[in-house]
């Protein structure tokens, strides 16, 4: 007999974790030497990787604020990573203390850490689930308890879709996720590409093969395809700094060097 699916993931601390390396790039200390070693290798390949990570994180926050402006008060953040400053529930609860957030990640350490941070937070949870099993996420009792799927939800897929290889059908997965949400829901996606810096980012993607979640870079057209069926919010799929920047100064001279395509779509 085969081992059933619900056999849990192992915790392998000898392998670098993207969640913790990302924390390091953002200046955090929630990481181990294996993570930092990998993170430094990636920095050698892409010297301004810290800025790339930061630009992505900034997009996440602008997208959340946009959704809050749209009246959305509940969020499903998949691939939420290690909590660092400016987590989605902090931003949302500044606007409305009753905002609800369900964080989902496959990295067990990221999830236990999040759970620790969220202790005493009735309106936020962190769950160990996999983006590749959308129904397990949507039907999770905690998700059901916290989120009212009959009302609009902000679905955040920030810097995680590239962790799903083509053979796992990322397009189908994402469609299954948003079709379960109410009209008016918004989907934010940010995605790594090698379009602008094929050599450096290509090397970075190659290095990610050492981690628990290797990266599949995609082209602009491929990223745009993720929004098929959704109404793409202005300005469409663009380089991360170009999506509704707060000021001209925030954009910088070479937004394409930030190597992330980002966009937000709205469910009709």
């Amino acid at each position: 007999m085969e081992r059933p699916e619900w056999a849990p993931a192992d915790v392998d601390l000898s392998r670098p974790s993207v969640a913790r390396a990302y924390d390091y790039w953002l200046g955090g200390s929630h990481n181990f030497e294996v993570d930092r070693e990998f993170a430094r290798q990636a920095l050698a390949a892409v010297p301004d990787l810290r800025l790339v990570a930061r630009a992505n994180r900034e997009f996440l926050h602008r997208a959340v604020r946009f959704m809050l402006d749209e009246g959305i008060r509940q969020f499903l953040d998949i691939g939420s990573g290690i909590p660092t400053v400016g987590n989605v529930h902090e931003i949302a609860q500044q606007v409305d203390p009753h905002s609800r957030v369900a964080y989902v990640d496959i990295d067990p350490v990221a999830v236990t850490h999040s759970t620790h941070i969220l202790a005493g937070q009735p309106n936020a949870v962190a769950l160990l689930e996999d983006l590749r099993h959308p129904e397990a996420i949507l039907d999770h009792p905690e998700v059901r308890r916290l989120l009212d799927l009959d009302r609009p939800v902000g679905l955040l897929l920030v810097s995680v879709v590239h962790a799903v290889p083509d053979h796992d059908d990322p397009y189908g997965l994402i469609r299954r996720l948003w079709t379960a949400l109410a009209p008016g829901s918004c989907v934010a996606i940010s995605h790594v590409t090698t379009d602008s810096r094929p050599d450096e980012m290509g090397e970075g993607a190659r290095l990610s093969g050492r981690t628990n979640t290797p990266v599949t870079a995609r082209t602009r057209a491929q990223v745009e395809d993720f929004f098929t069926g959704l109404d793409l919010v202005e300005p469409g799929v663009v380089w991360s700094p170009l999506w509704r920047p707060e000021s001209e100064a925030d954009v910088g001279e070479h937004p394409e060097r930030m190597s992330f395509y980002v966009g937000v779509g709205r469910r009709r």
């Binding site: 849990p8 601390l13 400053v85 931003i91 000021s247």
Partner: protein, 620 residues
């Protein structure tokens, strides 16, 4: 408080309009923002930096407000989120290069010294706060990793428990499954276990497939759950295990038995609880269950034997009409096994020519002369010796081998009879034809070919068929019989008078004769006397009636099983035409028949004696 001239003395304040401070704040905030991302709005950032700038300005212009103010400012910078090395670098740069200039005050030695002191303190406060901050972060991430490990292990343990449950229990009913039952039995038969006798009761719902077919498997599943619940409720400390083996098969394992009766009692109770009507969606579904029980020691491998014995007994319960229980019995099982071995050996035996015919004389009762012989199948078994038909014909019927065996015997018998024509013309041979053979098209054709090949005149071949074979005359059987009659072959009803003959068939079939069952030949010990009958019919009355029935239908009547001279006389008196039995001769190899014929011709050459002649036979 702001009335003193600017840019003078130890208590300098920034320009009254505060524009200088504003520019400084903007420069600092920009430097911080560039150096380090904190997810706050520009406005928030500005507010935070304004607060810090005020304290810096005060410290530089008026002297530190208290000990450790510079450190506190550094620490607060970190607390506000600007904890990166770049943030510290940017702060130092802005403070050294812009502060005094933006404030519009001279860089006199006092201010410069204060500023330098402040920067030193600020850097110290900043780095130690950042260090604490990252140590705290290290602690939390380590604890998180530890917790993740523990959780993964716990989840693994839970999943192993679930996996084990999944592997050892039936999903539909929640009962233990065959795996667990086998495991438990296995454990019982290992030496350490104190238990030495164990009972197994195997249960199977009769015709359950029909329930699924007719009512649908959903109803079937509901029934299985209900059955499981009833059996499960039976279990107490003594019943170690109630298991579902597969589909509609269940088993109860009973530990520490003393005798088979212990298990039979439990099997009885199981059958009793399952006998109560089952209701599904308001309709009653009648069900019966069969049970097989086995009990015995489990030491060294006995457990597996016991389980098999339970299954065998269950099989018997089914074969004996279902809705009952059978206890395993070694003798019956041995006999079963023996029959199985015989049946399995038959095809090869047929190929090797181990089947032969023995011939038993049939005597014309009035003349005492040999009228014919009946060919009887024999198996020269290499280990068991010569086996009579009773040992194997039924098995051959069941496997269908009787068809091939029948034609082989038919050919042998016809060839032999054809040879005897040379010494006794007109001697017939009687051969048994089984129901299976009769239902095959092509039997008549085959018989014709055999007659052709052997040269036996068709009317000297008698085919004996049982009443059973013609009770239900399907097209094939009628056609075959008609075709055989057309060939000139003679058809005889065998074992007449004990089966359920359809008398109408006797008329419509092209029959030649009747062979009375041996039970009619021997008078019963006590004549049947039925109260109320006008005159008790005697055995002779009955015999006479049957014989004359045959004669009235124009049939030749032969009596079987004649063992004594007395019986021979009685049957002759009753008008029987032919007789067969040990009195006249046992089934023997063909040479002995030949010898008998020769002896008879020898006797006929001299005047006959008063006794009915008897063919001499060798007793074996």
């Amino acid at each position: 408080m702001n009335d003193r001239p600017a840019a003078d003395g130890a208590d300098d304040r920034p320009a009254a309009d505060g524009r200088g401070v504003g520019e400084f704040v903007t420069a600092w905030a920009t430097a911080l923002h560039r150096a380090h991302y904190v997810p706050i709005s520009a406005e928030q950032r500005h507010r935070i930096v304004t607060g810090l700038a005020d304290r810096v300005v005060t410290a530089v212009l008026a002297g530190p407000g208290g000990p450790g103010e510079g450190r506190r400012i550094g620490a607060d910078l970190v607390a506000a989120g600007f904890g990166s090395p770049e943030a510290l670098g940017g702060t130092i740069a802005v403070l050294t290069s812009r502060l005094l200039g933006d404030l519009g005050v001279a860089a006199d030695p006092t201010r410069t010294a204060r500023l330098n002191d402040l920067l030193a303190e600020l850097a110290t406060g900043f780095t130690s706060a950042a260090h604490d901050h990252s140590l705290r972060a290290q602690d939390t991430v380590r604890l998180a990793a530890l917790a993740a490990r523990t959780q993964a292990e716990e989840a693994l343990r839970v999943s192993e428990v679930r996996f084990r449950r999944f592997a050892t229990h039936d999903q539909l009913t929640g009962l233990p499954n065959l795996t667990l039952l086998t495991e438990q039995l296995g454990r019982l038969s290992t030496a350490e276990a104190p238990t030495d006798r164990v009972g197994v009761c195997c249960l199977d719902v009769d015709d359950f497939a029909a329930v699924n077919d007719v009512l649908g498997y959903q109803v079937g599943d509901l029934l299985l759950r209900e059955i499981a619940a009833r059996l499960g409720a039976l279990a107490d400390g003594r019943f170690d295990l109630v298991a579902r083996l597969d589909s509609d098969r269940f088993a109860i394992l009973v530990r520490d038995t003393t005798c088979a009766g212990d298990v039979v009692k439990i099997a009885d109770r199981a059958l009793a609880v399952l006998a109560a009507p089952f209701r599904v969606n308001g309709t009653e579904v009648p069900l019966t269950v069969s049970a097989g029980v086995a009990e015995g020691t489990v030491a060294d491998g006995g457990a597996a034997r016991l389980m098999r014995a339970g299954e065998i007994a269950l099989h018997w319960a089914k074969a004996d009409g279902k809705a009952t229980l059978r206890l395993f019995d070694q003798d019956r099982s041995n006999a079963d096994a023996e029959r199985y071995r015989l049946s399995a050996a038959m095809p090869a035996a047929l190929r090797r020519g181990e089947f032969t015919a023995a011939y038993q004389p049939v005597t014309a009762l009035r003349s005492g002369r040999l009228a014919g012989v009946e060919a009887l199948a024999r198996w020269r078994h290499p280990q068991l010796g010569l086996l009579s038909a009773a040992r194997f014909i039924e098995l051959a019927e069941r496997t269908g081998l009787v068809v091939a065996l029948g034609s082989q015997l038919l050919e042998q018998a016809c060839r032999q009879a054809s040879r005897w024509q040379r010494i006794q013309p007109g001697l017939y041979v009687s051969v048994n034809v089984s129901v299976r053979q009769l239902h095959r098209t092509g039997l008549a054709g085959e018989v014709a070919q055999i007659l052709d090949r052997t040269g036996l005149p068709p009317h000297l071949l008698h085919l004996e068929i049982t009443e059973q074979a013609v009770i239900d005359l399907t097209g094939v059987v009628t056609q075959t019989l008609a075709a055989l009659m057309q060939l000139g072959v003679r058809i005889v009803i065998d074992d007449f008078g004990v089966g359920y003959a359809n008398l109408a068939n006797l008329r419509s079939l092209p029959l030649y004769g009747l062979k009375l069952d041996a039970s009619l030949t021997r008078p019963s010990a006590q004549p049947a006397r039925w109260p109320g009958a006008r005159r008790p019919g005697t055995d002779d009355d009955f015999l006479g009636t049957v014989v004359s029935l045959g004669h009235r239908l124009g049939l030749v009547v032969t009596a079987e099983g004649i063992e004594t001279a007395q019986q021979a006389h009685r049957l002759t008196a009753a008008g029987c035409d032919n007789g067969q039995g040990w009195h006249f001769g046992r089934p023997v190899p063909p040479d002995e028949i030949t010898a008998g014929i020769v002896a008879q011709q020898h006797r006929e050459a001299v005047p006959p004696g008063p006794e009915l002649p008897v063919i001499p036979v060798q007793r074996r």
